[in-house]
Symmetry: D2
Subunit: 139 residues, 4 copies
């Protein structure tokens, strides 16, 4: 597991992007060796499907999946990695108060990384499944 | 081609969502029979990869692709459609001042729609390719 | 778990297709309630990347993933389902003597099913990950 | 356009794999500079959805898409490339007597290639869309 100060560092990196701040993304936990990270996104106006709807926007969820996959690799590798491609399947409507993404590294090679992202609602129901391919070469 | 007033209606629908307003999404043109729509997203702080970076955020681009595919079907069908799944491939860094998405319906059946989304920068370079599958059954 | 005779029925259905026979696909086990099935594909000339190569063909693996996802839903629903879309990520070279696919239903709604397919080699190493979306409406 | 002898060389490479021979894959045309290739797959017992069905098997079509994308890059680069990931969307039932795949390179960088594959039936109807990501580094 990451120490409290390592998690704070990840949160600082997350916060260095306006879109992440608008969506209120939070790093909840991570384990570098096991290769996973958990992020949370609260239901807010910015994440809503449309004004007044009590449902997350699929686009906000895709952003959330992409960032979760990215940060699973950042926690492992220590540097940011560009997304090569991203897939997301929406299984059911995602409701307030928040959704949580668990990103699990499936491969982290010299040039490519593949990460599975499972998004659950506050009751632990899986609402979406993501899978991203990232370029893992430094700099 | 959609008339000016039909395009204004689509823009009004686009604007009924905080995330779209934050990202400044604009409907540029559409053709119901031909099955395409063009949306534009300006480079802004909210769409930036990270503070100070002159590059679009992959998550904002995924949102953009999802919305473009959705609105191609809305222009055709007259009602909103849930995304079943989405894939996006990032071909090169997307730079300011804006990116433009052309969403082309490839299939619009009674239950399923498939849309191809090509995202280009202001110089006409393709920066990303999306493909989405949507549920086309009325509410 | 499926009984021996139920598994034999699935194998009979598998065998009613020349491509499956050419690739030697075998139903190894399944659990209807838990929503999973395990299939095995031996390394043969027909499944080889190219003549003389001791590596599975990516196309044969894609077929294997598609069929595994399909049969997970067949075991659950009792009838065949058309594939809407399929994704497969190749993590490492797949070597003889066989590969095994575990297909796990992630959603089985009235119109759509989503299945995750994990393909491992004989040593239990994950060599590929698939995800398929299927149409689950009866005939 | 490739010369007749270059096309023959591609066909020889195609034929050096039992699965391609079983499916009867044919190189119909290619243009190295424009980055496309056209392959054809006849309807045969090996490509059939099930015994007696007059419809192509989705798995055979996935193999066809993968190989078409691969060979578009082979025609360009001169060497075989491993598939990183593949997605295929099935738009309608694919009928005899044959299907034809046009694979168009969308990106061919130093490490990654992205190819779009459009599969049509003999009447020119699009029956499936593929998109593959390949590793383009020389062996």
């Amino acid at each position: 597991m990451l120490s409290e100060s390592e998690l704070t560092s990840l949160q600082t990196l997350l916060d260095s992007c306006e879109l992440h701040r608008l969506l209120g993304l939070r790093a909840v936990g991570a384990d570098r060796e096991a290769g996973w990270i958990v992020l949370r996104m609260p239901f807010t106006k910015a994440a809503s499907r449309s004004d007044g709807a009590a449902q997350f926007h699929g686009g906000a969820m895709a952003t959330f999946a992409d960032v979760a996959g990215d940060f699973a690799l950042i926690a492992r590798l220590g540097f940011g990695v560009p997304t090569i491609d991203l897939r997301i399947d929406y299984l059911r409507a995602a409701k307030p108060p928040y959704i949580q993404a668990t990103a699990q590294i499936r491969r982290a090679g010299k040039t490519l990384g593949v990460v599975d992202i499972t998004i659950e609602d506050a009751e632990g129901q899986v609402v979406a499944l993501g899978r991203g391919c990232y370029s893992t070469r430094a700099g």
